[in-house]
């Protein structure tokens, strides 16, 4: 072929200008496409009111949930009593039955316990608020008046309680009022109280101060008072028991209070967060990692380092006389309460099986049907069209609808998932297979037919060798992609790990379990991806060689 030179091209361009000037539509089609896409995006922005949703989104929640994927929180609940603290942990805490973590330093003192005042309405207005420290301002005298009105169980000051006082700036402590020295000098209480409560002072050792260390932060909690140390900077918070919470000085930037006197929320960065309520302080301390991944707190192996667990498994005395330590350990791991390894793996297996069985059954059923649907194999237009429309129908009724239908029929579980994948893929594979059949090379069939083979042998030796690798390759591709779809239809009731994922996400508590399942799913998908692409490469390679 000779190439025209520049002058020849110019010459042709003069004679046939229309061939060198593409149509307006063609020239600007790219630009037009971009403009349409931009307009459509603007329309969707309005349709879904995206900007509104983005502005109202709770991004701090997103950060917390994301952090939950790889960390856990321990939540000490520091309840404020009249003159001491009650530190409790959530039930089923990850620290076991009686947690006493090193980062919560408790100081105890012998204090008088305040008995409950039962018949509040008959008592003086001050104590009828149900709280002995209710009205305290910052003056000790005020505290005294409260004390006097609520009777004489306020015994002389305790010597030990000084450390409680040291962090308290306001005088609403029942113990050790050293500055006012008021205790014994209390005026006579209102007459109506006296017959009601003649309690004897109950003395016991109680926590009066808790130092909570959260990384760079320190919180010192004492009855009625919280101070937060950020490095060297100290922020003070006052609590009027049962009534209000307030910051001494301006509210620091890490704290948030929605209305004056209400709960103060502290966000302490990665270390965690805290809530100062008017009767308790709740601290969420964040730790990196997956706690109790192998043994939960009920297991005898819990809390032991691996260097001790190892020898125990191999040669240690039996912890449970009924069985060996290894089987006990396996049982503990399998039925771990926090991580539910056994359940997760069983559900994962269900999902894998849904995809596997569904795809294999679908290709087995689609295989004979596609011969009937292919124009060149079955010369019957009616049968061709009928089967093609059946395939279209199976494919177009969504997998979701099939899943809902079979969940009703078989009940939730993998059978519904298998049936849904089977029907959808029979449609898709049938369509693809019949298209592959219609594209086969006719020469081989003619060759086999020309030596007098039966019609079945013509298909077996003339057609099958050409299409079988393609069929297998497509089945493998769908097996791989169905492993992913099986996860989703699981969530609508078709069993498998999808439902478990969905349940774990719904609680918004178990994001670490979600991440664990996601990692397992990713591993399975990558593994199948690899197997399937290897097998397909082998199959298609063979097809090209033969």
């Amino acid at each position: 072929m000779t190439h025209p030179d520049a002058t020849a091209i110019a010459d042709i361009a003069v004679r046939h200008p229309e061939a060198f000037r593409p149509k307006l539509w063609k020239r600007y089609s790219g630009l037009l496409g971009v403009v349409i896409c931009a307009l459509y995006t603007v329309y969707c922005w309005w349709f879904f009111s995206i900007s509104l949703v983005l502005s109202t989104a709770n991004w701090s929640l997103a950060a917390t949930y994301l952090a939950d994927w790889v960390s856990y929180e321990i939540r000490p609940n520091i309840e404020m009593k009249a003159n001491h603290l009650d530190i409790t942990y959530a039930r089923f805490s990850k620290l076991g039955e009686n947690p006493d973590p090193a980062w919560v330093v408790q100081q105890t003192a012998v204090v008088d316990m305040a008995p409950e005042i039962k018949s509040a309405p008959t008592v003086s207005p001050l104590s009828s608020s149900g709280s002995f420290v209710g009205t305290s301002g910052s003056s000790p005298g005020n505290a005294n008046s409260v004390r006097s009105s609520s009777n004489s169980f306020l015994a002389p000051a305790q010597t030990d309680a000084g450390n409680a006082n040291s962090v308290q700036s306001s005088g609403h402590s029942f113990v050790a009022e050293t500055d006012s020295g008021a205790g014994p000098a209390a005026p006579a209480p209102p007459a109506e109280v006296r017959p009601l409560t003649p309690p004897t002072p109950l003395r016991s050792e109680q926590v009066v101060r808790a130092d909570v260390h959260l990384g760079n932060w320190d919180m010192v909690v004492a009855p009625g008072h919280v101070s937060v140390l950020q490095g060297d900077v100290r922020h003070e918070f006052e609590i009027v028991h049962g009534k209000s919470v307030s910051s001494v000085g301006p509210l620091p930037p890490f704290a948030e209070q929605r209305k004056p006197g209400s709960t103060i929320y502290l966000s302490l960065g990665w270390s965690g967060r805290a809530e100062i309520q008017n009767d308790e302080v709740v601290v969420w301390r964040r730790f990196f990692g997956w706690k109790n991944f192998f043994f939960d707190t009920t297991s005898p192996f819990w809390g032991l380092p691996w260097s001790e667990v190892g020898p125990l498994l191999i040669s240690g005395d039996r912890l449970d006389p009924a069985r060996s330590n290894i089987s006990l350990a396996f049982d503990n791991i399998w039925y771990n309460l926090d991580w539910q390894h056994g359940d997760v793996w069983t559900k994962l297996m269900q999902t894998v099986i849904m995809a596997f069985v569904g795809t294999v059954l679908a290709s087995l059923v689609a295989f004979p049907l596609c011969f009937l649907a292919a124009r060149n194999i079955t010369p019957n237009r009616f049968a061709n069209q009928a089967f093609k429309r059946i395939f279209d129908f199976l494919r177009s009724v969504d997998m979701l609808i099939w899943a809902l239908f079979f969940t009703r029929a078989f009940g939730p579980g993998p059978l519904a998932g298998i049936a849904a994948i089977f029907l959808t893929d029979t449609g898709t594979l049938g369509k693809l297979y019949s298209e592959a059949l219609e594209n086969v090379d006719d020469k081989q069939r003619e060759g086999v037919r020309s030596v007098g083979a039966s019609p079945l042998s013509v298909q077996r030796f003339g057609v099958l060798p050409q299409v079988l690798p393609v069929f297998a390759s497509q089945a493998l591709y769908f097996w791989e992609s169905n492993t992913r779809s099986a996860t989703i239809i699981g969530a609508v009731g078709a069993g498998g790990i999808g439902l478990k994922l969905w349940e774990a996400m719904r609680t918004n508590q178990n994001w670490e379990n979600v991440f664990y399942m996601v990692i397992l799913i990713l591993m399975v998908v990558f593994l199948f991806d690899m197997i399937s692409s290897r097998l397909r490469a082998a199959l298609m390679g063979k097809a090209q060689v033969s």
């Binding site: 099986i353 849904m354 969504d398 996400m505």
Partner: protein, 316 residues
Amino acid sequence: MPKPQLSPESQMMARHWDEMTSRKRLYSAGGLLVLLLAMGGSIWFANDSNSGKFFDRLPHLFDFFIDMQPRDWLEPWRALFDLVSPYDDGSLKYDYPAGRVYLTSTLYAPEYFYKMLETLNIAILSTLVGFGFAFVFCFAAAKNLAISPWLRFCVRRLMEVLRAFPEIVIAGFFLAVFSLGPIPAIIAVSIHTVGALGKMFFEVVENADMRPDEGLRAVGGSWIERVWFGIVPQIMPNFMSYFLLRLEINVRASTILGAVGAGGIGEQLRLSISRGHEAKTIAIIFLLFCTIVAVDQFSAWLRKRLVGAQAFQFGH
């Protein structure tokens, strides 16, 4: 037929042939046996861990249809177009006009058409977003346009993770952040689409004809110019074809995500089934079926125009 007399060399060849075929048969039989065992075990496991057993439940196969019988066969149409039902007793089941979406004071869009539009918009928008990102990523991931092997490695791994990451987790996470609505579905489907389209795109780019690129390189074109004028024009039809293919898949995906709480027609379907609203369910299934058929047909027609017979080869 008498056996032909063979020379010793030929006899050896014949023996080798026999050995080869018998070994091949053995392998095939072994593979088939493994497959059968795996299938048997799997089916037993599936049946065992299902809440209802297969043969016990088989008579109930069509319960769905029996439960879904409407009171008369005009009801689904009334539900579809939000017309007043003669059985209206104020309950949600027959109160079709309640869902009308008024465009003007008298003109309304029927509820399910509006929800279907929402699902379609989710699918189209997320396919567009996915297309945009995949378009940028695929050139960095293609071997023949190497920028740096490290970048290629990172982009490819990123796309693999995006593709394999369960959509339902992304949707669930953003449902927690944004509360209910279609935006979590858009994000989830978009993220998956970036991975899926990115893989198909870079394979197309790697199969592109490199001669235009060479010509541009010879006259001193920069990397962007080479890609834009040398590669993009020849791959664009294939990209559009994959875009349309993905759109079909995403319509289904956004329906399913809707059923787990992300808005659109999927949510309506799940709600109406769980509440036992027969006419509404039939109307939704009908609408969904028609829409999927229409989208598939449109996409197949357009793909055929764009790339011819190549349009129907997918899954490689």
